[in-house]
């Protein structure tokens, strides 16, 4: 048991050190979140009638701006990138180095990912704290302690789900030799379906109901709405339960894809 903890603890620290090494890169990626926030804030400001207290897509003006700011930060935070390394390992045959080591490749990648996210989460949480303070002061959006705790729990779920989703996408590397821009195409679709660009309500009630049942919402919209206090207390437990179901389903799918893929793996070039 101690050995297992040490192995995955070491994997976690690899991710942590990598994130510290490339902290400036992450800082720039956070900075590039400013553009969509400015664009969308300008758009919403021109759509809402000033001081009317009206709602659009079920959001008041203040709620919409809060959603825009928080969702953009969360989408930067949960963003993956390991799928490219996974693909390189498959394509170049480097994966065989891990197959002979006494550590599961899935667990290794998962803990490296969590290690990477640990420092980024620290920086993002500071920015979120500043953002919520400003939103509260300027727009009167309060954030309760309970909402902050629920948000923290939902972030863990979001990390796990996003990891599993992109692990399954990354498994395409076993079947396709030229992945090209497939990951980027998948990322855009997944962010859109996660409510990372606009709230899912803009798609209309039918599409929103369908998207609410899928796992993507739990990676961006769910944490964002929890922090903004938009989810009724009675609904929170049911939403968490559904996200756990998706974690189970995607874990099973990830294992099945890995089993099928590894049988095709030819360790070319190693």
């Amino acid at each position: 048991m101690g050995d297992v903890a040490a192995k995955y603890g070491r994997s976690f620290s690899i991710g942590l050190r990598g994130a510290i090494e490339y902290r400036l890169n992450f800082a720039f990626s956070i900075l590039s979140a400013v553009s969509p926030v400015v664009i969308q804030t300008a758009l919403w400001t021109s759509l809402y009638s000033p001081g009317s207290g009206e709602t659009l897509f079920g959001f008041t003006y203040a709620q919409m701006i809060a959603y825009t700011v928080v969702a953009n930060l969360v989408s930067r935070l949960v963003r993956t990138g390991f799928e490219y390394e996974l693909n390189t390992d498959i394509r170049t045959g480097g994966l065989d180095r891990y197959l002979v080591k006494p550590i599961g490749y899935f667990g290794f990648r998962l803990f490296v990912f969590l290690g990477t996210k640990s420092t980024q989460t620290g920086l993002t949480l500071v920015l979120l704290a500043i953002a919520t303070w400003v939103l509260n002061a300027v727009l009167g959006i309060p954030v309760s302690v309970a909402a902050a705790f629920a948000f923290a729990a939902s972030l863990v779920v979001a990390f796990l789900l996003n990891f599993l989703i992109f692990w399954c996408v990354g498994m395409a590397g076993f079947w396709l030799t030229e992945i090209g821009f497939l990951f980027e195409a998948a990322r855009i679709v997944i962010i859109t379906a996660s409510g990372g660009i606009f709230p899912l309500a803009v798609f209309g009630p039918t599409a929103q109901a369908a998207l609410n049942m899928l796992p993507f919402r739990f990676t961006i919209q769910f944490p964002t709405e929890l922090l903004c206090g938009r989810i009724p207390t009675g609904q929170i437990a049911a939403d968490f339960a559904l996200s756990f179901v998706w974690i189970g389903v995607l874990t099973a799918l990830a294992r099945a894809l890995w089993s099928a893929g590894i049988r095709r793996f030819a360790a070319v070039g190693s």
Binding site: F28, S32, S35, L43, F57, I179, F181, I188, V202
Partner: protein, 267 residues
Amino acid sequence: MIREIIKHLRIYAMLVRMNVMSQMEYRANFVTGMLMELGYLVVKILYVLVAFRAGRRIAGFSPDEVLVFVGTFVLVTGFYAGVFMMNLFQLSTLVRDGSFDALMTKPISLQFLATFRRSDIGIFLIDSVAGIVMVAIGLARIGGSLDVPRTMGYAVFVASGAAVGYALYLIPQSLVFRIVNTSSIAELTDSFWDFNNVPMIVYGKVGRAIGVFVIPMFVITSFPALFVLGRMTVPYMIWGLAAPFLFLGIARLCWRSGIRHYTSAGG
């Protein structure tokens, strides 16, 4: 001068042909590249969806007029993503691995070769066709007439926007000869492109003044849309025609100044 232009146009046609042949060799990459661009297209269309679903005017523009703005943005993005963006963002790699040396030995303009070497016909076609269709639908829905002078004027302002876009993105990338790794600058400046996803009128007076005259992002796509909608003022029209010359000149100066700092990494 004319002979030089014809020579470079001929070379550009050859480069495009070579790029198409190379893309056909790696078809899965070609297809996934188009899928990626379709994904970006969906994101741009989301802004139109919001305007239509909200069912109200955005800063005085109807949802159909917003469709014309976003359609123009998509059309010019065809030039940005399909013609020059990939070349500008790859400059850093060329300088780092020393392959820039090989380009310097060619008997044609170095700036031309380095910034127009590669192109992606798939991305260009998706964006330009989708953009033209969106503009046509938007204009048809508002009952706007599209006579020859208006079409020609629109084409001139689209070309002017593409030229300003090229210049604006070349200026920060010319830093590559001083600081070598400009990938984070590339990511940051790339995010500015999306400011054109909504009509420039939504940004308020100060934002508009900066976006038109200081960093003329709005000249790129808002100006052609304003012209075709018949909402362009005379000062904007003059600025829209002058800006490409001014900013191409500045970009040329930055490039030449940058080249003087180039030291070969591979030699």
